[in-house]
């Protein structure tokens, strides 16, 4: 799980060009959007597409669940693990 979380953090930094952010700067529990890391809607789209591509999983559009999955690195890792089982 920890490994996956690190991998996601790297993916976030890489796909969103967060140059001055390091893996250890991203807290696993902190919210990704809004406060916390402060990503916006365009980041959301970019990240969503990257995750979809990399892990080959289906992300439901227009679902509150999806919002929950993308709330933090922790949730995201759990979601990916669940979906790729």
């Amino acid at each position: 799980m920890k490994e996956l979380e690190e991998e996601i953090k790297e993916l976030i930094i890489d796909s969103l060009d967060l140059e001055d952010v390091k893996v250890e700067d991203i807290e696993t529990d902190a919210p990704l959007f809004g406060e916390g890391l402060g990503l916006d809607s365009i980041d959301a789209l970019e990240l969503g597409l990257q995750i979809q591509k990399k892990y080959n999983i289906k992300i439901e559009a227009k679902s509150q669940e999806t919002r929950k999955h993308f709330a933090s690195v922790k949730n995201l890792a759990a979601f990916i693990q669940e979906s790729t089982k």
């Binding site: 060009d17 809607s41 365009i42 959301a44 789209l45 969503g48 439901e60 559009a61 919002r67």
Partner: protein, 567 residues
């Protein structure tokens, strides 16, 4: 001074629900008046029991059924007489999330003059017919208060400031039934009572009895709205005045962004169009726009700035013989009013294909037919709505318009009401989160078209802006549409629908097969794309100089100067 608040519950035959409601309310330690609106004997007995066991509850019984409005009005006056300053209205039927009363009381105690309104968020239990009635009501209330900020007026959970509210309820002849809930809100706005809102959950209990009689109460609602609409016409100049000078009167909850633009005019004219026809609207336009012109100092200044900057360009000098004056600005304003009427014509389907000229129509229709998907960047120059007329030619057009307003949902239903065949979805960007983002991708992959304006900067992502030259001066442009196009990997088109004489001419051009944003020079690549767009925008501005509908300082370069002067 801390407020002295009580609870007022109108009740008519909710003998089961009232027990739970009272249980849930106990923790607030507020005095409670139950106004029994002539209920049957069982309910009366239940109430007597409650009164006996709970010393904080007082019941008052009407001998006959007078209506919910009558019960609430009586309760409010009664509470005021007993020395209370504020009253929470709670419906007896257990629909409301009573946990949110705490929050509402907090808001009320911080804004003691304010009328605090719960804004319902429905779960799946809500009957469709009720939702529909609500949409109609929203539309009416929007017109009557010249605002869409009072979102939902039918929810019976609210905190009244008694001093100012009873002045209205005791003097005016307000509706005695369900119509009261809405009417009191509209009249409060007229009286300049500040309105605060809070989102609450609403659940329709499965076994619940609702006394909203679909037909009868809708008729009553219409009657009330006609009355209020006429009242609005009389108060029109005054409301307009308030609109301009007391902008913050109806303050949305902190979490909601303010709506941009002067959409009240759209709503007023939209309604008149439907009821009185196009000619009437055109007549209405002159006083409305003149008033708007005389009182809208900021918009007037913005118009002047735009026209002047246009004039100062080489091309512009060919259009204007001399420096644009106030008369040109007035002309600019009138053009805006005309555009509103035509927008509505287009929605209703009155603008026919014969009235439009579309040079590149084949390419556009192909884009729709081949279902390859695409991003179409439009602008507030000209009137994009007229492309609606084209939908007659294609069986199935699916378009998704990304809008900046938070009223996209309201707007969708309004559109549907005006013309049920419309399949244009407005998606609100400011709420765009991960799920909306994924939805957009799905839509693009399905071959749907995504239309987005390229000349407005979003209120949510202020960082994603590039300054590029527009009419000789650097102006901020949103990067969003271009990043979106790059991410969706679809071709990008520009679309302008400009009125030339009596016809609309649609200009549709390919902007790019695919926007590529290399990682390394992303910012520069973006800027280059935006510069390219600004040049095209300028080009069309020269074609239709008065059809520019951005009535704010587009360059956003005035404030810093002033601040510098002060320093």
């Amino acid at each position: 001074m801390s407020p002295n608040t009580c609870i007022v519950i109108p009740i008519f035959n909710h003998k089961e629900a009232i027990i739970n409601t009272i249980k849930a309310l106990k923790k607030y330690k507020l005095f409670c008046f139950i106004i029994d609106d002539g209920s049957e004997i069982e309910t009366k007995n239940t109430l007597k029991n409650i009164e006996k066991n709970e010393d904080w509850v007082e019941c008052y019984h009407f001998t006959t059924n007078k209506g919910k409005g009558a019960a609430v009005k009586f309760g409010l006056s009664y509470a005021k007489k007993k020395g209370f300053t504020h009253a929470v209205q709670v419906d007896a039927d257990g629909q409301h999330d009573l946990g949110s009363i705490k929050k509402m009381l907090e808001i009320s105690s911080k804004n003691q003059n304010a009328f605090v309104l719960a804004q319902p968020k429905y779960d799946k239990s809500v009957p469709r017919s009720r939702l529909y009635a609500r949409y109609i009501t929203h539309f009416w209330v929007g017109i009557e208060t010249l605002s869409f900020k009072v979102l939902d007026t039918m929810c019976g959970l609210r905190v009244y400031p008694l001093e100012s509210i009873t002045k209205i309820t005791e003097k005016k002849r307000l509706g005695d039934r369900m119509d009261f809930d809405t009417e009191i809100v509209v009249r409060s706005v007229w009286k300049n009572i500040p309105v605060r809102t809070l989102h609450v959950k609403v659940h329709y209990p499965e076994d619940g009895i609702s006394h909203f009689r679909v037909f009868h109460d809708n008729v009553l609602n219409s009657k009330m709205h006609t009355k209020l609409f006429l009242g609005m016409l009389i108060r029109f100049p005054l409301l307009l005045f308030k609109k301009i000078f007391y902008k913050n009167n109806v303050e949305p909850h902190w979490s909601e962004k303010k709506e941009r633009g002067s959409s009240w005019a759209v709503k007023l004219i939209g309604f008149s169009y439907k009821v009185f026809g196009k000619t009437f609207c055109k007549l209405l336009l002159y006083p409305v726009i003149t008033y708007f012109f005389l009182t809208g100092r900021k918009s007037r200044k913005a118009s002047k700035l735009y026209l002047t900057r246009l004039y100062e360009t080489e091309e512009g000098k060919k259009i204007f013989k001399k420096k644009p004056s106030a008369i040109d600005s007035y002309k600019h304003f009138l053009e805006f009013g005309r555009a509103i009427i035509e927008k509505i014509s287009a929605w209703i389907g009155h603008i026919k294909i014969e009235n439009t000229q579309f040079d590149n129509a084949e390419e556009f229709l192909n884009l729709l037919r081949t279902k390859k998907g695409g991003v179409v960047i439009g602008s507030h120059l000209g009137n994009l709505e007229v492309i609606r007329a084209l939908s007659e030619q294609v069986d199935e057009i699916k378009m998704n318009v990304l809008a900046l307003t938070k009223h996209a949902e309201n707007f969708n239903s309004l559109l549907k009401k005006l013309n049920p065949n419309v399949d244009i979805k407005l998606i609100q960007i400011s709420e765009m989160s991960i799920d909306t983002a994924i939805l957009l991708k799905e839509k693009a992959d399905n071959g749907e078209i995504i239309v987005i304006a390229g000349d407005r900067t979003s209120a949510v992502s202020q960082e994603r802006i590039s300054y590029v030259n527009f009419l000789g001066h650097p102006a901020p442009f949103a990067q969003g549409p271009f990043i979106l196009a790059a991410l969706l990997k679809t071709p990008v088109y520009l679309l302008f629908a400009l009125r030339e004489g009596k016809k609309y001419v649609c200009y549709f051009e390919k902007f790019s097969d695919k926007i590529d944003l290399p990682k390394k020079n992303k910012e520069q690549a973006l800027k280059a794309e935006i510069e390219k767009f600004a040049v095209r925008l300028e080009h069309y501005c020269y074609k239709a100089p008065f059809q520019w509908y951005n009535f704010y300082n587009f360059w956003q370069d005035e404030k810093p100067k002033k601040e510098q002067n002060k320093a």
